[in-house]
Symmetry: D2
Subunit: 244 residues, 4 copies
């Protein structure tokens, strides 16, 4: 199966525009739509859902911490029941709006700090999985592809949750399978490196780490960014690569 391209969309808010959703939507497979807590508002959500429907793009919920000012990028201490409630709220809001347009929310990808906390903190991950399990008809959960994939699969399966693993085309990987921190050299790949990494993931299911190691990663989808014309052109090239 070809790797799917997923992209964060619907991140405008009121009078503030973010992203080039109309230019990106035709070239991706999965639209991660913000649900109002870190970005997005009801009108933006309606419009983004309509755009995804128009282009036949699969829709996912992109819930985040309640932090508009920090764009959901700041880790916030939460009790598990708070994480469960904020995820169910946001997924449900998008889901009902999608149904009103005749489409379904097929997956969930947590946003920003919630995503990072899910990957690094077991208690947060358990709360995220619990939220998914409480859903009346659980969508698929997107997690980062790491060497711990088998453990994450086991945790998810125990609650009846299906996972998709994602890799990042434009970020370097450390030998331990984590992303190179943005403060270090090699964190961000240039265009050639990015295309090469996508090629390797498509053909071998592996990346070459910053230490030169070959690291196999189980990957279902590539995360892409379309904030500017260069980004959109890169997405078009990535699509050609992943579709072989």
């Amino acid at each position: 199966m070809a790797l799917k391209l997923n992209c964060d969309l619907g991140e405008s808010f009121g009078a503030w525009t973010m992203g080039m959703d109309e230019a990106v939507m035709p070239h991706i497979d999965l639209a991660n739509i913000a649900c109002g807590f870190h970005a997005g508002d009801p009108v933006v959500m309606q419009n983004t859902l309509a755009l995804a429907k128009q282009h036949g793009v699969t829709v996912g919920a992109h819930p985040g911490y309640r932090d508009l000012n920090g764009f959901g990028r700041r880790s916030i201490q939460h009790q598990p029941e708070e994480i469960i409630a904020l995820m169910l709220y946001q997924i449900s809001a998008l889901e009902g709006m999608a149904k009103a347009q005749g489409i379904e929310v097929e997956y969930v990808k947590p946003h920003g700090a919630l995503y990072n906390d899910m990957m690094s903190d077991h208690s947060t991950r358990r709360a995220v999985l619990q939220a998914m399990a409480e859903h009346h008809s659980p969508p698929i959960l997107v997690m980062q592809a790491t060497p711990e994939a088998e453990q994450h699969l086991a945790e998810a399966e125990a609650l009846g949750i299906q996972l998709w693993f994602e890799a990042f085309s434009d970020r370097g990987y450390s030998d331990d399978g984590r992303l190179v921190p943005r403060t270090q050299p090699g964190a961000l790949l240039d265009r050639q490196q990015m295309l090469a990494q996508a090629q390797q993931l498509t053909q071998e299911g592996a990346v070459t780490t910053s230490g030169g190691k070959r690291l196999e990663l189980k990957v279902d989808t590539l995360c892409v960014h379309g904030d500017n014309p260069e980004g959109i052109e890169a997405i078009r090239e990535l699509r050609r690569i992943v579709q072989g």
Copy 2:
């Protein structure tokens, strides 16, 4: 059919408590649950849904304008598409959380200024009805019982929406069928007057106006308030009355 008692619940927010939900829930039929824009938050919504389920109380969405500081009581200029979007968002959020607990949202009662604008402004009412019609499986809409009930029914039926009409047990009615404004004498009924008005609504489907006129009102449900022990005792008496 006995008049049903409806009450606004789930109006706490974070560390702030409002209402005596646990004391009220056993004595009402319909719980209007705030959806996070004027009151309520995801955790409060989870808890309120669980409480309603425990007592077998029918659950309704209580969407409002996005105005926590004004508690949804201040009219805010909106475009119709904004009203449609904010209603679908809030109804959907509660609905998905209800489904996660195995229950359904069966009706929608707009809150505060959104409710008042719906009753007094045709453009707002049309947007509210449109929001309901866009829902994939429209719940019932609660409107105020007024002499314009037939017109409201016609507007709703044209979009396939079912209405419930509500009367206020503790508010005086003017000769024109509207509530006596709070700034005027006779706006708020005392306990005896309230029980008498409920009795008259139950037995005759009518109220006696501030001008002494007998006014017939088509009523399905009575709005009650349970903010304090006296209010809860009044609800218990009202229930005996409406159940004949």
Copy 3:
């Protein structure tokens, strides 16, 4: 005295950018800085104040209704004491931050719907003036230049408030001295018309209305917009005109 150019700045919020503040700041006289209720956040305010200081631009507070999602453009019902409190809060927040950088807030220009309500609704205008009067050292208040200027001056003077009147360079005026509504032809001037209107205001203190009438307006400052490169080029031309 040359007309001063005033421009709304500091309207970014968290991860969302609005306006081209760095490009505009060198070419204006007065920076209306958003104070966090409709736009702006503490970090944006810090940066905007520093930019104004760097270019020697006079700083004004630009308070709005508490409505990030509506960008302060939606009228919201308020009690007078609410308007007084939200104005004092926002002005004070900016003022203290300005003092921390060694500069002063010299004037106040209400934003969006608060500005419109101030001009059209006497009760709102009285509350705005009252807020200014309660300030420990009232800055100047900016109002729209209209045929009612004398009345507005009298209202302000009664409370010890000084006014600056502003005209809009890029909006057409009706015969009654109001702006042509955006829904009507002639609402927005093209570049030539805009420069001509600025010229006429500078030299004659008058505009030519949509009905062809010559209308004298007492004007202290012109409102300009710098959202794109054309807007900034227009500001540079306007500055040459107003500086004779």
Copy 4:
């Protein structure tokens, strides 16, 4: 000098009431007033300032993280410049509103998670001190009295900031001078223990720890709570004790 009693006040928000401010105010020395980010709104702040002025109570700013839903009790990752900006914003807002009533903000006590992070995390404490130092006329900063008081004094003096140290009358102290965590026995003192601890602090400048050790603490003020009638009665007794 007698220990001063400080209490968090002005923690209502819109329609939600918290605390018994009118009953507490006559019995305290220092009112820590919420500034709108975790609690309080402009109207609440106006009213709380007026109440403090009426009773001659010294006013302090009580800034918190921007988290109404979490009441500022959840730690949120921040960059130092974000902490500096949010503190200056909130202090300034209260300060200007106080000046409008003819009173001054004389001190600052960070709230909740911001307070805890200030005490436990050096980077946060440095940002808090930096915010104070950037203020045009720095108020006094309140920190918790701990065995590290000398180090905190040195850090503050280096930036020209004066400190007041506070102790908690109703919380047990560990041998290391920290509060016994709420999850452990001895975290909360009963009334007798509380009065005894206040007495010991007043007479000896020391507490008896949970391990039975005598711990000297440099203390300027006692933090008290007035959420219920028992709390208010306790405050009255504490006042008699600290005033000897």
